[in-house]
């Protein structure tokens, strides 16, 4: 940016293109020459990949805790792997978020204040506690590997087992706070169905967590555990399907669907996420469940599909949310007195039938 009278002068290319009204929203809602009425979140792949990683890690820890609660010896590896995946997720999460900051040098300011109204503030402290407690839970494995001859094993074991529960609780938070983060914005698609988005992220996270653990179990030739985790993944994926359908209905009702359908890239990503993330696993797990036999190939494909679908779903939801903010037809319809549903409350100002303010009108 060149400096003019020591004021930076942004010499963006002089693109004089005419703002056009974008498709979507209600036909009779005027817009200001189609110029965006909201600003989309300035987030990219760093954020949606973080959401996926955080969700999976949180869920893995939760499933690990369930395994520990069952007390079954055969599920011990599930607990240990749950802890490891949780730790890996936590270790990857913070750098992803810091890299997304536009003034990363001040990342520590996230810990400056706690605001209950800000899911990002809640999330910061959730991620912090989750990382802490997960760290404690993996302590025994870490010590065993680093100091094999270390004798004080017993004490560390109990600390890890005790830390397991707060880690699990934080894990639950990790699966859903990101949904609250998106819903607590004004981007129409994210704000249209907060409950459904919460359920969807949680279900998808648990499915991914289970899928990840199942994958590890399958690769370590423990098909029984993999099959058991597959069942859990199946249930979670089913819940995910339910919540996706419910949110689709809400999007139609609030007329924000164009945010998904109008842009080809988002539309394909969104559909692919459902097909891969929900369709394939349901099919594979369903077949292996009904046939009674455990097929290694089906289990692996289900796990991988769930993971890939989960990631893709976060990307698609993020992109669709940003499209809805950049489309003033959608955002101004969404923010109408009737929320875009089509019935204005009595006494609301009459909607003036006009495209973008250029047609003549006579005000009564």
């Amino acid at each position: 940016m060149t400096l003019v009278n020591d004021v930076p002068f942004d010499r963006r290319e002089r693109g004089t293109r005419k703002a056009e009204r974008q498709p979507g929203g209600a036909k009779d809602t005027p817009t200001y020459y189609g110029h965006p009425a909201l600003k989309a979140a300035p987030w990219g792949w760093l954020v949606w990949s973080y959401i996926f990683v955080a969700g999976t890690a949180g869920a893995a820890q939760v499933i690990g805790t369930a395994a520990q609660l069952s007390g079954r010896e055969d599920l011990k590896p599930v607990r240990d792997n749950g802890r490891i995946i949780g730790m890996l997720g936590a270790l990857a999460g913070a750098p992803l978020l810091i890299a997304d900051l536009h003034t990363p040098k001040r990342f520590y300011n996230m810990l400056r204040i706690f605001r209950s109204t800000s899911p990002m503030s809640i999330g910061t402290f959730t991620l912090l506690s989750f990382s802490g407690f997960t760290g404690l839970t993996v302590l025994p494995q870490a010590l065993r590997r680093l100091f094999p001859f270390w004798r004080g094993k017993k004490a560390v074991e109990t600390v890890a087992d005790v830390a397991q529960f707060p880690a699990a609780v934080a894990g639950l938070g990790m699966t859903s706070y990101t949904a609250a983060l998106l819903s607590a914005t004004s981007s129409p698609l994210w704000a249209a169905a907060p409950k459904e988005l919460g359920g969807r992220f949680a279900a998808s996270s648990v499915a991914s967590g289970a899928a990840a653990l199942a994958l590890v179990e399958e690769l370590n030739d423990r098909p029984a555990n993999a099959r058991l985790l597959g069942k859990l993944a199946l249930v979670a994926t089913a819940a995910n399907l339910v919540f996706s359908r419910l949110s689709r209905l809400k999007y139609r009702e609030r007329k924000v669907e164009a945010a998904i359908d109008a842009d080809p890239a988002t539309a394909t990503a969104y559909r692919a996420a459902t097909v891969i993330g929900v369709g394939v696993p349901l099919f594979c797990l369903g077949v292996s469940l009904l046939s009674g036999r455990h097929s290694r190939r089906l289990s692996l494909t289900a796990s991988l599909a769930t993971l890939a679908g989960g990631l893709l779903m976060r990307k698609a939801v993020m992109q669709a949310g940003e499209n809805s903010a950049n489309n003033s037809a959608i955002s101004l319809t969404f923010a109408r007195e009737d929320g875009g549903r089509g019935e204005l409350p009595p006494g609301a100002r009459p909607l003036i039938p006009a495209e973008d303010g250029t047609r003549r009108r006579r005000l009564h």
Binding site: V7, F9, D10, R12, T16, A19, T29, P30, T31, Y32, H35, P36, A37, K39, A40, A59, V62, I63, A66, L69, S70, R72, L101, H102, N109, M110, R112, R115, T117, M120, A168, L172, S176, A179, A180, S183, A184, T185, S186, W190, A191, P194, K195, G198, F201, A202, V206, A224, A236, A239, A325, L332, E337, A348, R349, L351, I352, R359, R362, L363
Partner: protein, 317 residues
């Protein structure tokens, strides 16, 4: 003589003479050409308001007085030393700055709705070419402030909302949170920026730059309650004169202050649907959606966890 106008300049007394003094009595204290420093409490001279911490200040933008001259855009940029953007002609009537951004904190909208057959009995004040100076609303329950995880966004002692440039780490959460699309992240300096209602000027007893510069006093600065009272009288006065479509936007119970936002410190008098100006008619407060999303999420995750426990409870095969 309309009441609404007098309260705008409370010091107007009914002196004889051609123009009832539009100048504050204190102008007589500074009659030298070189004055030795900033006139203390200059806001009394320019807006009839003494600025004191602890009171609630805001803008009342009466668009029916706006002549679309963009003095507010320039005064804001000159005071805050914001960069200009070379974007070329927009094709959006006379609006070439297109919208509020990190480097444009005041933006005048232009909407041409010319009714050619009735231009010889137009409704009083602004008509046929709608012009409005848009700005950050400094909402009472500011979504950007509620979203800000670092506390960079805070409510000042003048009841306004400011991004503290020494704290903000550019997380960008305030940008999608704002229901009016005001606050924006500046990619070159990595911080969020928006109108500060001239926080530094208020501390120095100076009226915000845009309100001071506005030629027709369309932008009026003052204590929120006075502005609100003046605005209501103005709307009645306009209705009496025949501008029946004039209404307030952003005052309690009016469009723009819906969905838990309660009220906007910078509120407007509009004469057409808010969407025509690019404003949402019924914005909502995003923080109300934290609980439903988080609650459902946790419930789902917890129930699936129980399912896991149930699945794992069976005997070893």
């Amino acid at each position: 003589m309309t009441e609404a106008w007098d309260t705008a300049k409370p010091w107007i007394s009914k002196s004889a003479g051609m123009i009832e003094g539009s100048l504050h009595p204190r102008v007589l204290d500074y009659t030298d050409s070189f004055i030795d420093e900033v006139i203390p409490n200059e806001s009394e001279l320019t807006a009839g308001v003494t600025i004191e911490p602890g009171k609630s200040y805001g803008f009342f933008t009466d668009t029916t007085l706006c002549i679309g001259c963009k003095a507010c855009e320039v005064a804001c940029k000159e005071w805050n030393q914001l960069p200009a953007e070379e974007q070329g002609m927009s094709g959006m009537s006379y609006d070439n700055t297109r919208g509020l951004s990190s480097s444009t904190w005041r933006h005048v909208t232009f909407v041409e709705k010319v009714d050619r057959e009735h231009t010889d009995d137009m409704q009083p004040f602004q008509s046929n070419w709608l012009m409005m100076s848009d700005v950050c609303k400094h909402c009472a329950n500011a979504p950007c402030l509620e979203a800000c995880p670092t506390g960079a966004l805070f409510r000042t002692e003048f009841d306004t909302v400011v991004v503290q440039q020494d704290i903000c780490n550019g997380c960008g959460y305030c940008v999608p949170a704002c229901p009016f699309g005001v606050v924006d992240l500046d990619m070159s300096d990595g911080k969020a920026h928006k109108c500060t209602l001239c926080y530094d000027r208020l501390k120095g007893g100076l009226e915000p730059a845009c309100a001071k510069s506005c030629p027709t006093d369309s932008i009026q600065f003052g204590e929120w309650d006075d502005l609100y009272e003046r605005a209501q009288e103005r709307v009645e006065d306009l209705h009496e004169r025949g501008a029946t479509n004039a209404y307030l936007y952003g005052t309690p119970g009016a469009p723009g202050a819906t969905g838990g936002l309660e009220r906007l410190q910078a509120f407007f008098l509009l004469s057409d649907r808010p969407e025509v100006y690019g404003l949402p008619a019924a914005p909502t407060r995003p923080s109300r959606r934290v609980a439903p999303a988080l609650g459902t999420g946790l419930a789902t995750a917890a129930s699936l966890a129980l399912a896991a426990i149930f699945l794992f409870s069976g005997k070893r095969r």
